[in-house]
C-alpha cells in the first residue's frame, strides 16, 4: 500500500501541470464553500451581537423585521415616526426601567446620523451586554456636538474639534446639506464591531435644530434660522423614529408588548430583538441555502472536471498500466492506484482551498469590516467547515471510483500489450 501511494504520488507529480489545474479548480470550489459558510456564520454572529440588553424595540406599526433593520442596523428607513409623547408615556409604564429614543434620517458622507439622548450611552449594550465606551473625548452636551463611531472616525480621519456638516436624508440629493449648522466632534467611541461604529451620534435637540427651518424634507424659503439663534426656539423633539426599551424584569416583556400594541393615541409596534432576529434569519435562510447550493454545485463541477481529466489522461497512460501489470500489479492494484490519485488530488485541492480561505480572510477581513461592518473571524475550521471539507473529500473519493474502474477495465482488456 505504501509503495502504491508512492507510485501514485510520483505519477501524479509527473503530470503536475494538468493535474495542477484540477487541484486549482477543486481548491477554488473548496474556497467558495468555506467562505460562504464563514461569511454566513459571521454575519449571523455580528447581527446577533449588534444589540444586547434591550428588551423591546418600539416604533411605528410596520413589519417587525423592518423595525429591527432600521432601528438597529440602519438598513432601510422608517415609513413613519412615532410621537415623542408616546415615548414619554412609555417611560412612565411601571414595568419599564429605561427608554432610549432614537431619531434617524440624516447622514454624513454615507454614514447614518443617530439622534438620541444621554441614556443611549448608559443603556445601549452590544455583544455580551457590553456597554459603549468613549475612546476619546466625552459625550455630547450641547446642541451642535457630535460623537463619532470608531469606523467613521477612522475612515474619515476625524478627530476631536473637527467641524462636520450633516446631510439631509441619505445625502444623495445635492443641495440638501445642513451647511448652516455644522457640528463639532467632541467624542469618539471605542470599536464595537456593530453598526454603532458606522454611526454619528447627536442629541435629539441637535436633530430638532437642524430641521427647525425645514418642512416636508426641504428648507422653508425665507425662514432660515441661523445656528446661533436656534436656542431661542423650542428644541424638544416632536417625533422620533424608534425607542429602545429596557424592563425592570424580563418576564414582564409580553405584558408590556401587549400594552404598547394597545396604546390608544397612536398605533405602535414593539418587538423583541431576538424574535425579530429569528424572523430575519428565516427570511435570509432561503438566500443562504441558494448560495450554499451554488457553492456545492461548483464543487461538483470541479470534481466532474477531475474525473474528466483523469479519465482522458488514462488513454495516454495505458503503457504505464501495462508496465505495472507486467511487474505484477493486478487490476485491483491499478484500480487502487487511480483511486489514490483522485483522493490525493482532492485532498490537495481541499487543503489549498482551506488555506486560501484563511489567507483571504486575513487579507480582506479588515476591508470587509470597514466596508460592510461584518467582522470575519480568522480561525481554524469549525465543525460546519470540517463537514464541508469531509464532504468534498468523500465526493472526490466517490468520483475517483470512476477513473479507477475505467483503469481496471483497461488493464484487464489490455493485459501486457495495450491496443491503442
Amino acid at each position: 500500500m505504501k509503495g502504491l501511494l508512492m507510485i501514485a504520488a510520483r505519477s501524479a507529480w509527473h503530470r503536475r501541470f494538468g493535474l495542477g489545474l484540477v487541484v486549482l479548480s477543486v481548491a477554488l470550489s473548496t474556497f467558495l464553500l468555506l467562505a460562504v459558510e464563514r461569511v454566513r456564520q459571521d454575519v449571523r454572529l455580528n447581527f446577533s451581537q449588534a444589540v444586547s440588553g434591550t428588551d423591546l424595540i418600539v416604533g411605528a406599526r410596520t413589519g417587525s423585521v423592518q423595525l429591527l433593520l432600521y432601528s438597529v442596523f440602519r438598513i432601510g428607513s422608517a415609513t413613519q415616526n412615532i410621537r415623542y409623547t408616546s415615548v414619554l408615556a412609555l417611560a412612565d409604564d411601571p414595568a419599564v426601567a429605561w427608554v432610549v429614543p432614537i431619531s434617524l434620517g440624516d447622514s454624513h458622507r454615507g454614514f447614518p446620523v443617530v439622534a438620541t439622548d444621554d441614556g443611549y450611552f448608559e443603556h445601549f449594550k452590544y455583544g455580551d451586554r457590553q456597554p459603549l465606551t468613549l475612546m476619546h473625548g466625552r459625550q455630547f452636551n450641547e446642541v451642535f456636538e457630535l460623537v463619532l463611531g470608531a469606523e467613521v472616525a477612522q475612515r474619515l480621519g476625524y478627530e476631536i474639534g473637527r467641524r462636520v456638516v450633516l446631510s439631509h436624508g441619505s445625502g444623495e440629493i445635492a443641495g440638501t446639506e445642513h451647511a448652516d449648522k455644522p457640528f463639532t466632534v467632541v467624542g469618539v467611541l471605542a470599536r464595537t464591531g456593530t453598526p454603532v461604529d458606522r454611526s454619528l451620534h447627536i442629541s435629539l435637540a441637535g436633530m430638532q435644530a437642524l430641521h427647525i427651518d425645514w418642512m416636508a424634507g426641504v428648507p422653508l424659503p425665507g425662514l432660515a434660522v441661523p445656528a446661533e439663534r436656534v436656542r431661542e426656539h423650542d428644541l424638544k423633539p416632536k417625533t422620533v423614529t424608534a425607542a429602545l426599551v429596557g424592563l425592570k424584569s424580563r418576564p414582564a416583556v409580553f405584558a408590556v408588548q401587549r400594552r404598547i400594541a394597545e396604546y390608544a393615541p397612536e398605533p405602535l409596534l414593539a418587538v423583541l430583538p431576538g424574535v425579530a432576529m429569528d424572523e430575519l434569519w428565516q427570511a435570509v435562510d432561503l438566500g443562504e441555502r441558494a448560495l450554499q447550493a451554488m457553492a456545492a454545485l461548483v464543487a461538483l463541477v470541479s470534481l466532474a472536471g477531475l474525473v474528466a481529466v483523469v479519465v482522458t489522461g488514462l488513454e495516454q497512460r495505458r503503457r504505464e498500466l501495462a508496465v505495472l501489470r507486467a511487474v505484477g500489479a493486478g487490476p485491483k492494484r491499478v484500480f487502487a492506484l487511480l483511486l489514490i490519485e483522485g483522493v490525493l488530488i482532492t485532498a490537495a485541492g481541499a487543503l489549498l482551498g482551506a488555506l486560501a480561505c484563511t489567507a483571504a480572510i486575513a487579507a480582506f477581513g479588515p476591508w470587509v469590516q470597514a466596508e460592510h461592518g461584518v467582522a470575519l473571524r480568522l480561525q481554524a475550521p469549525d465543525v460546519a467547515q470540517w463537514i464541508w471539507l469531509c464532504a468534498i473529500l468523500a465526493a472526490g473519493t466517490l468520483a475517483s471510483l470512476l477513473p479507477g474502474w475505467r483503469a481496471y477495465r483497461l488493464s484487464l482488456a489490455d493485459g501486457l500489450t495495450p491496443r491503442s
Partner: protein, 228 residues
Amino acid sequence: MTVLELRALRFAWPGSTRRLLHIDQLQLGAGERLLLRGPSGGGKSTLLSIAAGVLVASSGEARLLGVDWRTLSAGQRDRRRADAIGVVFQQFNLLPYLSVLDNVLLAGRFSATRLQRAGPRPRETAQALLAALELEPSSWPRPAAQLSVGQQQRVAAARALFGRPSLVIADEPTSALDEARRDAFMALLLRECAAAGSALLFVSHDARLARHFERVVELDVLNQAVAA
C-alpha cells in the same frame, strides 16, 4: 525441468468464432533460450499473454513450472506472474517518473519472492544488474524518461532479471534499436539470462536474431490456426 509448456492450446477472443491460436505442443526447459519468429499480427502478443497468464486459453494447457494458468484465480495469476516472470516490451518499458534504479526495484515491489531472491541487499543487487548491463552509475538516480531508447531497453532487461525469475519474456525488445546496439543488447541480455538461470522466450519478426538462439520456432509452423 520444464519452465513453460503449452499443450493442445486453442485460443479465440471471446465472442469471436475465428480461432487465433492452435498449438499442439511447445516446451521450454530451465535456462533454455527460444526465439519465436513470426510476422506482426500473427498472434505473437496473444501467445505471450497466454504464456504470462494474462490471457487464459480457450482450451488446452498452458503450464508455468508445472501449474496450469487456468487452475488459478486472476489474483493468483497476478502474484505468480510477478514471482516467476520478467517481461521486456518493444519499448516504453519504464515508468518515466521513477528513477532508473526505482524502475528496476519495481519488480520486487509487487513480489516478495522476487525481492527475497534478489538477496539481502536488493538495492545493491539492482545496481549490480544495471552495471552488468553497462549502465553508468551516474544514470541510476536519473528519471527513466531521460535515457536513450537503447539505455531504456537495458534498464527494462535489468528489471526483468531482478530477483532471478524462472522465465523472461521478451516481446520485440530490439525493434527500436539500430543494428550495432541490437547486437550489443542481445549479447548482454543472453549473458545475464544465463547468469540468472532464467529461461528466455523471445518473440521477434527479425530472422537475423536467429544466430543468438539455440532454438528457433516459426510461429506460422507452430500455429495450426494459421495453417488451417
